[in-house]
Symmetry: C2
Subunit: 596 residues, 2 copies
């Protein structure tokens, strides 16, 4: 079964729930984004996902990447698909207009990324890394580097990577060993070994632009001594074309659980020529902007693969005949009823769907704030969105990827043994989605960032902004009687989140271990509250669409049904999350090292 | 890193928590099982796990099984390991003494299975299937078949399979097509295709004994027309040795997510000669005894792999240096602190360990009742344990395999990117443990069995037996002040379980959909309550051991610490499970087929 672009759900969210045109109209965009234009772009992207990427997804997993004499070959079909992707102009979608990009808002590309990840996560990674590298170059590099590299990256002729991790330094980048020695011509000579480099070497583009973290010989100790360098695979000749091979080589490919068609490389830098990006010793903070975008992508990957699994599992459940409905045969003329009659099968599918819709909405909500933070004419509004973003992103990354993985596991479970064998693609989705919880900062790190840096350190100021948004929604809709039930559930969980925030700040101020001990449950509680917020918005839009007499009542009723399931069956988890937070750090910290 | 047999924890549970010798002494066993003898057996089994099975686990996953011209080859090293396993006499451990078995209780073999599954799940499956087939033959086959087949199965010279599933009939076995036509000599001629047959074909034994579900041409419709047949790969000659090849052939191997060294076969029966086992049309109920044992094994698999992941993850967390403890450096002389200082890393490890210990205890508790139900001299006590077992097994199977998978995922998360690559073995554990939630009745089916057949149909009578056991424990220990805190938590969750049982029975009596809609949360609530019960027993034994002035205080304190974590951080989930049950079936059943 191949992936189908969920355009109907996407259009509904974009236009009915988030009033995209109004939102875009308030920003400074390069061109007016009408509903028709957006529709055309998304439909075209949907076709790429369905017709170009999905067909080579399973074969790519099976074949994996080849490695021979330092050269990496992508699986059959990837090169052709990439050519078509580039030809369609997708690689520069959100790029800076001044350097040949198309200046589209992140909202649009987020939806496209979700589809591409859902159809073929391995393929999508090659493109996402390029986007991230281009973003970083555009934000921090010199005009010369920007002019030299951005147009080719936006055209997709060259691709990008982020080279951060070393074998002994993952979460703690302050420990990296890679050295950058200044050369006389203003460039640097880089030496060291980086691991887990996505798209570090491959055969899709004529050049690869590595962004590499390294330290100068006399750099300050720890994270404050890290600088960022641009290190191309091929140096450029005087005309800006491909010149001599730089001293970067791929030592090996990682053998891993999933995303097998994505080349995860060990990269060796042996006196490779690099160019400083941004200020010396400011490498880590130069990555912060990019990281919000990359992390958003990981949540989108979880959601995209969840959608893919939902499509397969729900179709299977409608067709697979086994047993009879609990209250007697529904299809007496058939040998058995479709398994969709069984409440527990529905539980699995509804869990998937209610989290997919809320996850997509949360990703859009975050992407809107990313766009506002860059493209709104009002500085105060930009700054406000920036602060909201710094709170939303760790939750979107961790919670959407957690719920995405959970959905992939549930989808597999719907198919039973048929979900465990490779044929239906569901086990691949489980393997492919698993990485989204790990890379770009493992989800535990996101939770710690949320509870520590974003909450404790700001004394809850950032959360207050989000609560303002929620309260605004509640007071705007409090008088609508159809919303009463939903708003009361929302108010409850919102109050619980506020109560827990106060508690976490109080406990954490006295004892830093309290932050880490509460962080994961706190992140989940915020994720659940945000999903609840998103469901408020969806249900409101649904009720308004029904009232305005629009067609498609079955679709809207279906959405409300999925929402009801969320409130009945998923939201109650908030109560026990609060209990886990209240329990504090004692039982977590008590054990000695030897007792583990 | 290779698997280490968790003998210390096992011995503690067996002797201090479950008073194994006393328990065994009350049964009619073939030989007295002293603590020393048990210790010797378990140590020997531990060596097999560590030295024979663990070393070929990763390579077996990588190589997988070969398939050529209908022949299946197991990965390198499997044949030799199997020879040693057989030579050690492990294959007939629980077998009937009258046919050359060793008559050991299930309690002992359950612990051994957990270790073998933990060290090498693929290998262990070949042996578990043989045990299950032998058990079924011993319970239901004619004396002639027993004399012919059991000794060879117990010796491990021949192996066994269970051939149930067909491509269109998994959960609903009533739909199977395989036909059995009576022959003149009293045998049957079987034709049909079975899928997902574990160990259906391989090169470890000289013969394979298939137990096959099939229907006579005039059999009643549905599950009541199914009979069970013994179909050997090779027919036997007059001397009982290997004779002509029977008409059974392996059509292909499944390509699957994990347990790649276990051959999962499509088996074709083309007028294959078979022998009836038990009464005609009674095939399904002939499998019931065996199923309790097989399901116990799947819970053990989850727990065994969880233990393996815990060992690797906790060792990694003690050694991996990244970042600093929240309250300042603990190892200032090192470049960074081990990640075990971080509360969230501890949360993951403690979640794993507290569920592993409780899961092992629940498996032992179930195994004791299996043994009592067969080997206690008092008929009433046997019958009581049998009823308890029918309640315990679906929970043990589903909850231990769910928590086992969860633990493998958490273990992988502790290692971050290093958990996603194959090197450390953690991603293999995730893939290998996933199947335990699916086969031998998917966990949703276990939950339905628990809530429907075992609870609603008996109007809660079986649960009352379990509650009796719990109340007995509470009143026996109520006066111990060290137990006060724990017992009060236990009483709370027990009351909640009783309340929810009453609710499920009440709602389910009016509307059958209510059972299925509540079933999964109900199973989880019972699993959590049982884990809580097990933790009561563990903590009591720990307190008593400390009081009696035994050494190893650090070990006992460690156990209490893990228990405290369970009560603080995992038990609260019960509150939201109850809310999910209370929410009822409405939001689950409302959606139309088209809305999925």
């Amino acid at each position: 079964m191949s992936y189908r672009a969920p355009l109907k759900d996407i259009q509904f969210l974009l236009h009915k729930v988030f009033n995209a045109e109004e939102n875009f109209a308030s920003m400074t965009l390069s061109e007016e984004l009408s509903e028709d234009l957006i529709k055309a772009i998304l439909e075209e992207a949907g076709k790429i996902a369905e017709e170009l990427l999905s067909p080579i997804n399973q074969a790519g997993d099976k074949e994996g990447c080849g490695f021979d004499g330092g050269k990496v070959s992508t699986p059959q079909g990837f090169k052709d698909a990439y050519k078509d992707y580039v030809k369609g102009g997708w690689s520069g979608l959100t790029g800076d207009l001044d350097y040949g990009g198309q200046g589209m808002p992140k909202v649009i590309s987020a939806l496209i990324e979700e589809m591409f990840f859902g159809a073929n996560s391995s393929f999508c990674l090659y493109t996402v890394l390029t986007t991230g590298a281009a973003l970083t170059i555009n934000e921090h590099a010199s005009e010369e580097l920007k002019e030299t590299y951005l147009p080719k990256l936006y055209q997709g002729i060259w691709s990008g990577t982020m080279c951060l991790t070393e074998s002994h330094a993952g979460t703690d980048l302050g420990m990296i060993h890679t050295k950058a020695v200044p050369a006389k011509d203003g460039s640097y000579s880089l030496s060291g070994t980086k691991i887990f480099i996505t798209a570090g070497e491959h055969d899709l583009t004529e050049n690869i632009v590595h962004l590499v973290l390294a330290k100068l010989p006399d750099a300050p100790f720890g994270p404050k001594g890290i600088s960022l360098f641009l290190v191309p695979k091929y140096l450029l000749n005087a005309e800006g074309g491909i010149g001599a091979k730089n001293n970067v080589s791929c030592g090996s490919l990682e053998n891993k659980m999933g995303i097998k068609a994505s080349a995860t490389c060990v990269l060796n830098f042996d006196d490779a020529t690099g160019f400083l990006v941004g200020d010396l010793n400011n490498g880590l903070s130069n990555l912060f902007t990019m990281m919000n975008y990359e992390r958003l992508s990981m949540g989108l990957q979880g959601n995209g693969l969840a959608e893919s699994s939902y499509q397969i599992a729900s179709a299977y459940a409608s067709q697979r005949l086994q047993g009879r409905a609990p209250s007697g045969p529904e299809y007496a003329e058939k040998a058995a009823d479709p398994i969709l009659v069984h409440p527990d099968v529905r539980r699995m599918l509804l869990t998937m769907r209610s989290n997919i819709l809320a996850g997509r909405a949360l990703s859009l909500y975050s992407a809107f704030h990313l766009d506002i933070s860059r493209m709104h004419p009002n500085k105060k509004i930009r700054a406000r969105s920036e602060r909201l973003i710094s709170l939303l992103i760790p939750v979107q990354k961790a919670y959407c990827s957690d719920k995405g993985f959970e959905a992939c596991v549930l989808g597999q479970q719907v198919l039973g043994g048929h979900g465990y064998v490779s044929e239906w693609g569901l086990e691949q989705n489980v393997r492919d989605s698993r990485i989204a919880q790990i890379y770009e900062g493992a989800n535990g790190i996101q939770a710690l960032d949320l509870a520590g840096r974003k909450t404790l350190r700001t004394k809850g100021a950032q959360l207050n902004l989000l609560i303002e948004e929620m309260d605004k929604f509640i007071s705007a809709n409090n008088s609508k009687k159809e919303m009463k039930f939903y708003l009361s559930k929302f108010s409850d969980v919102k109050s619980l989140l506020v109560e827990m925030t106060t508690l976490v700040i109080k406990n954490g101020s006295n004892n830093p271990d309290e932050i880490g001990a509460a962080s994961y449950s706190y992140m989940e509680l915020m994720g659940l509250t945000l999903y609840c917020f998103m469901w408020q918005k969806i249900i409101l839009a649904t009720i308004e669409a029904e009232k305005s007499g629009q067609d498609d009542k079955a679709y809207y009723d279906g959405l409300i049904g999925v929402g009801n399931f969320f409130f009945d069956k998923l939201l109650p988890r908030s109560i026990s999350l609060a209990e886990e937070i209240r329990a504090g750090a004692k039982s977590v910290m008590n054990a000695t090292f030897e007792q583990f």
